[in-house]
Structures are given as C-alpha cells and as structure tokens.
C-alpha cells in the first residue's frame, strides 16, 4: 500500500471515531501536519470523506468531520436519538433540539457574528428556552387536544410549560431526566458534551472548537440546500411515536 494512502486511512480512522486532529494535540499533531503538508494525503483524505458523504472543517488548527444532515450511514435517526436520550415522544426530542438550538443562538445569531462569551450557565439556558418558547408558540393560553399531540412548536411549548422547574430544590438530587425543565436541560447538556460541541463543567456550557468549526462553516455552505430540505421535511410525516 502506498505510504500516503496509509496515512490518509489513519487520519480517516481517527476522524471517523469522532476524535479531532489537532496541531496542538501531541497524539495527532503528526497526522495534522501530514494532512496539510502532504498533498497526496490531503487529496486521499478529502476524496475518501467525499465518497462517504462526510464533511471536513478546520478551526483553530484542528480538523473535524461531520456527517451533516440526513446521512444514512453516519447520521442518527429520530428513533436513534430518542433511544440514546431515553425519550419516548417526538415532542420531547424536539424540545431537546430546541434547547440545543437555543444554546447555539447564545453564541451565534448568524454564522459570521460570534458573540464573545466563554460560556452559558444552564439556568440561563433554561430561562432563555422558556422565554423563546413563550414567544414563538403563538399563544399557549388556549390549546386543543390536537395541539398537545401535534408535532408543533405549540406542543413543545406546552410540554415545557407543564414541567416543574426542578424535581428537588437540592441541586445534587436533580439529574438529567424528562421530569423537569432542569432535567431536560441537563439531558441536553449531557448530549452536547458527549457529542463534543460543548464542554459541560459545573452546569456551565463552554463551546468547543468543533462547535465553532461546524456552526461557522457547515450551514453557511449548505444553507440553501437546508432551506430546500425544510420544505421536504415539512411535508413528510414525522417518525412514529412509541406508545403515545
């Protein structure tokens, strides 16, 4: 096997397991250097990733891959995520999505305007989620049974509204769960931590380089196709609920 291709495979195997390759990391610095200094390696890696429908981004002397949206091999389905998070209903998953999106908005209003702050506290996130859900769901003061079951923002807002802020006033007894707003936020924070987009320390969410890399580049690049796909998704029925 050619040496360049062998190195490219090594880089791919690191990236595909979810790790980043960074010039600042002793273990991967050599791979980072060969990726940028050896055109053969660079071409092989990019060709390989392109074939697998993975996208590569650089930020702060580190490279990351993302499967993007709707990737059938490396992407997650709604059911995968529900299983991963221990959720049962679609609207619960949408609430988690919404919390992640709100966390994103705390740092980026647009892909080119980073609001410089080191972290966001979990309670701030909970407050902003409540406020935004209140704003966007047209009017939660009146609802019908359809609204509760529907895949709508109103259903998400009603779900949030019906949750207690915490299960217990004792901080240590509040775990990630579906039982409270804090629990949901914690559940989402754990997901974001696990997926390497935020580092969660002491209920504070610090954005990672991976987060910056994807938020600043991926959507800017794929924005128009995403918007086109929104139309398709809207017309597609949502995944089946389990035992609702």
């Amino acid at each position: 096997m050619e040496k360049g291709f062998e190195k490219a495979l090594e880089i791919y195997s690191v990236l595909a397991t979810g790790q980043s390759i960074s010039a600042k990391d002793k273990e991967t610095a050599e791979l980072y250097n060969s990726f940028y200094s050896d055109s053969e390696v660079y071409d092989a890696v990019t060709a390989l990733l392109k074939k697998l429908n993975l996208k590569l981004y650089e930020y702060n002397e580190s490279i990351f891959v993302t499967a993007g949206a709707g990737n059938k091999v490396f992407g997650y389905t709604n059911d995968d995520l529900k299983r991963m998070l221990g959720l049962r209903l679609n609207k619960e998953l949408y609430l988690v999505y919404f919390i992640v999106y709100e966390a994103l908005l705390q740092f980026y209003k647009t892909s080119d305007t980073y609001q410089v702050k080191d972290y966001i506290r979990l309670d701030e996130l909970i407050e902003v989620v409540g406020k935004e859900l209140g704003r966007i769901s047209s009017d939660t003061s009146v609802y019908t049974q359809d609204d509760v079951n529907d895949s709508s923002f109103k259903a998400v807002a009603l779900l949030w509204d019906g949750l207690p802020p915490m299960i217990s006033e004792d901080k240590d007894r509040n775990k990630a769960s579906r039982g409270s707003r804090y629990g949901f936020a914690k559940l989402t924070a754990n997901l974001m931590n696990q997926e390497g987009i935020f580092t969660v320390v002491d209920d504070r969410l610090y954005p990672t380089d991976r987060f910056h890399a994807i938020v600043e580049n991926y959507f800017e690049e794929s924005g128009s196709s995403i918007m086109a796909r929104l139309e398709e998704i809207k017309n597609k029925p949502a995944d089946t609920e389990e035992g609702e």
């Binding site: 994103l104 209003k109 647009t110 407050e127 003061s141 918007m227 929104l230 998704i233």
Partner: protein, 552 residues
C-alpha cells in the same frame, strides 16, 4: 281644454301618490326585513366570532375566583376558614409586582414566606399565640402552592363556536424559573394584567385615568390618597417601559415582527403621551400650589399633611421624570427600528447563515422536526450499530424467537486441504490404477507369467462383475499398453508416463518398497479378448488385443 288638462294632472298626481305610497310600504318592509336580518347577523356574528376573545379576556379572572372559593373550607378541617383567599391573592400579587417591577428582582420562597407571615399576622391575627409555628409554615406553603396551582396553569374548558372545537384556556399567576441553582418566582403578565384590571378600565391609558383621579384627590386635598395614585401611575410607567424593552428585544431577534411591534407600540402610546403630559403639568401645578399654600398659608400647622404634600411633590417629580424618559425612549425606538431594518438589509446581502431567521422560518411553518437539520450536523458521526425497536420487543417477549437465535459464529480460514473436483477424480483414478497395478504385480510375483484373460478373471473374482463396467480398468489397460516393459524401481525414481505417475501416487511407500524388485514386459498377441464373461448380457462387450505379462 284647460279643465280637461287639469283633471288629467289631478288624476295623474293622485295615481302617482298611490303608487309612491305602495312603493314606500314595500321599501319599508324590505328595509325592515333587511334590518332585522342585519341585526340578526350582527348578533350571531358577535356571539360566535367574538366568543373566544371574550373568554380570553375573562380567563385572567378565573384563578381568582377558583382560589377565593373554598380554598380554606376543606383545609385542616376548616380551622382557617376565616381567612379570605381573595384578599390574600391580591396582596401576594401586589407583593410580587413590588419586587419584580419596582425592585427589579425575582421573589424567593423565603421572601414570600416572610411577607405572607407578616400579612397573616397583621390582617387575620394568625400569630404564634394562636397557632403553632409548624401550622403557620404549612399554611404559608399551602397558600403558595394554591396560588401556583402546584406548578400548573389554571385551566378551564370552553367551547369555541367559530371552530366548533372544545378548547382549554389557561392562565398562570406566578411563574418559576431556575437562577443560579435556586428556584425563583416572578409574576406573569397575566398576573399583572389581572391585578391592574381589578381597578381600571382596559384599553384606555391607565395613566390618564389615574391622573384624573389624582387631580380630584389633590383638589380635595387628599394627599395621602394622591400618593397611592402616583405609585400606581409609576407601576403603569414601569409596565410601559417593560413593554418597550420587549419590543426592542423582539426587534433584535426578528426585524420584521419587531418593526410591526414598534409601529403598534408607537401608535398606541403616542396618543396617550400628549394627554398624559398635559395632565402631569396640570397636577404638578396643583401640587406646587398646595406646597405654596403650605408655606404661606394659615393652615400650615398640620405637620402630617405637610409631610404628605412634600412627599407627593417629590414622587410626582420623579414620576414625571420617568414618564419623560419613557417618551424619549419611545421616540428613540422608531429611529432604532429604522436602523435595524437598514442593517438587516445589508446583512441579507452577505453570504452568512442567519440562525435566527432560520428559526423564525421553522416557527412560521410550525415545523419543529426541521430542527433536526441543524442538530444532526453538530453530532459526531454515528459509530455504533443499534438494535431495531422490534428486536428489543422480541428480546422481552419471545426468548426463543428465531430472530434471536442469531447466526452461529464460525471462524473461516482458508482450507488448505481443499480439492477441486478434477483433483478428486485424479485421486480416485490414481487409486484405481494403483490397485490394478498391484494386482498384476502380486500375480506376477507368484506366476511369473499372466495372460490378459487370467488377469481379467482374477479381477473379476476380487472386484466382481462391476470391474467390466469400470472405465478406469480399460483406461489402465490402454495406458499400460503404451510401453513394453515396466520396472517398479524405475517408475518410483522417474515416472515417464501418466500411468506411472498415477500408480506411484496411488501406492504407499511400503507397497512400493515391497514391489521394488519387480519388473515385467508385455507381449502383444493377435487375438481379441472379450472383456465380459457373461455372454447373455445385452451390454456392449469390449474387445481388447491379447496381452501377456511376463516377469523379468
């Protein structure tokens, strides 16, 4: 002639009068029926179309009456029946407004608890002398839970005749949130609105209404009452300021919606502000006069009144300043809105992705599932295979299900002993050749000379009649006839023909050793030997030239 003409006109006029009268009656009937239809239409329209709106206006009163009715009748077997939950509700809401709106801080449970304890002791004589501390603590918690409806919104069902659907109206008075790991409470907008509408008429500037009242109070020299009214005006000014802040926030997040909200806000308040300003000026004048009277007048002796007037003057001054700031900020709001619209236009030309607009679009299309498009790229590539839900069901329900048996894991290695069909055939042919050759050598060891006929008979005895149907037998003889003589030693060391090769590979080393000294030659005769003994058989009979094998 003239007379005829006149008569004709008279007849004509009287006729036309009759006709007009008839028309008028008909028109009147139509008009009346139309009026009645219109009024009926308006009536039905008003009943059906505006019902939901009316219920929504009513809903803010619902918690109050739910709370006021029977909250204490069942509690602790009615020991606290003498408490008025209606009063307590309004008092607690006022406390929340004070903390949230004036002091700009959320309420903690301990803050509320302190306020409630003081109120219960002051207004209902719920003191430590009459009740145990635990009982009072429990009562305070009970009141709080009731007002929060145990964390849920107050809900009541109603029928929407326009949509022909059963709906649920909901309202909260107090909301809770987590701040720095502590649960804090705030009064909701519904709560504020309810509290304020208990005294004034909505959709009018409450500030203006209060001003009129204030004017009356100052004129009647009720300065204490005036101070209360000004405090209420302050609440209104604060509420408008909060409203303005919300509009600004909306403008920052969504320019289009924000611009609409700005227009609405400016339109609503601009009419009020002019009136309010005039009223403030008038009231200030009145207060100034009162102060002047206080200084130079004869009735300046009442120090309490003097204190009230001075306080009134100070807080009125403060309120006017707040009000002026609000007006200035509102004027600024329009400019700010224009600037935001301009920036939004510039931004839209740049190739960046606008996350807020994307969210607004998803919201406008009410598509929460679309959020997945933005979350999935943030996740790491999926590395693990997972089981389908149906498989998990099977695991739980059917332990012996076929699907669960799975596939047996086998270590697959390259089978070095694998033989292809032709190799297998070769092997069997070589075995057969070797057997035939061994038989010949064995016979030659004893007899020194063997004819083909004898050889065939021997084979027939050993292997049966099937030998004649064995193709290898004929092939053996054909190949054997290829050479005149054979030496076992020679063919072991150096196989010259295909037959020799096959024979050597089909015999063991021991066998080869035992025959190593054997050698024979073949003498070919002229006769043909029939290879089948059973002459009656219908099968084809092979004929082979006679051969004699002679030991050397």
């Amino acid at each position: 002639m003239i007379q005829y003409t006149m008569v004709f006109y008279v007849v004509l006029i009287s006729l036309s009068r009759d006709l007009m009268a008839q028309d008028f009656v008909r028109c009147k009937k139509i008009y009346e029926s139309k009026c009645s239809m219109a009024s009926k239409y308006t009536l039905t329209d008003d009943i059906i179309k505006n019902h939901t709106e009316r219920i929504l206006n009513l809903r803010k009163f619902y918690p109050f009456f739910t709370l006021a009715e029977g909250t204490f009748s069942q509690y602790k077997e009615g020991v606290f029946r003498f408490l008025d939950m209606g009063y307590i509700t309004l008092a607690v809401l006022r406390y929340f407004i004070n903390e949230n709106s004036f002091n700009d801080s959320p309420v903690t449970y301990s803050g509320y608890s302190e306020f409630c304890r003081e109120m219960l002791s002051r207004d209902f004589d719920v003191t430590r002398e009459r009740f145990a501390k635990d009982e009072i603590d429990e009562l305070i918690r009970y009141i709080f839970d009731k007002m929060r409806n145990y964390g849920k919104a107050f809900e009541f069902d109603f029928y929407d005749p326009a949509e022909r659907k059963q709906k649920v109206a909901r309202v909260r008075l107090i909301d809770s949130t987590v701040r720095e790991n502590e649960v804090v409470y705030t009064i909701t907008e519904d709560g504020i609105e309810f509290y304020l509408t208990t005294k004034e008429v909505r959709d009018e500037s409450r500030i203006n209404m209060d001003q009129i009242l204030l004017e009356k109070l100052i004129k009647s020299e009720n300065f204490r009452g005036s101070i209360d009214v000004i405090e209420r005006i302050n609440i209104e000014v604060k509420a408008l300021e909060k409203y303005r802040e919300e509009v600004v926030e909306l403008l920052l997040s969504d320019v289009h919606e924000g611009a609409k909200a700005v227009d609405e806000y400016v339109e609503r308040t601009s009419v009020w502000f002019a009136e309010e300003r005039k009223s403030f000026a008038r009231n200030r004048e009145l207060v100034d006069k009162a102060v002047a009277r206080l200084t130079f007048g004869s009735d300046a002796g009442d120090s309490k009144t003097a204190r009230d007037i001075t306080r009134l003057q100070t807080i009125l001054k403060q309120t006017i300043e707040n009000h002026s700031n609000l007006i200035a900020a509102t004027a600024e709001l329009s400019r700010f809105s224009d600037e935001m619209i301009r920036r939004s236009r510039v931004r839209s030309l740049r190739a960046s992705f606008d996350y807020e607009s994307a969210l607004n679009r998803m919201v406008a299309e009410d598509c929460p599932q679309c959020l997945a498009e933005f979350i999935e790229p943030l996740l790491l590539p999926k590395r693990h295979k997972s089981l389908a839900i149906s498989t998990i069901d099977n695991i739980v329900l059917q332990r012996t299900a076929e699907s669960l048996k799975g596939e047996e894991r086998k270590e697959l290695k390259a089978d070095l002993n694998f033989k292809y069909d032709d190799e297998l055939l070769n092997e069997s042919v070589s075995m057969n050749f070797a057997k035939l050759f061994k038989e010949l050598l064995g016979r030659l060891q004893r007899w020194d000379r063997v004819t083909l006929k004898e050889y065939g008979a021997i084979l027939e005895v050993k292997f049966g009649m099937d030998i004649y149907r064995n193709r290898d037998y004929y092939a053996f003889l054909t190949h054997l006839a290829g050479k005149d003589s054979y030496s076992v030693k020679e063919i072991t060391e150096n196989s010259e023909t295909f037959l020799e090769e096959m024979v050597v590979s089909g015999m063991t080393e021991d066998e080869l050793e035992s025959f190593q000294d054997m050698a024979f030659k073949i003498e070919f005769g002229n006769d043909l030997v029939k290879m089948k003994l059973d002459q009656g058989s219908t099968e084809e009979i092979a004929e082979i030239t006679d051969m004699t094998f002679i030991k050397m």
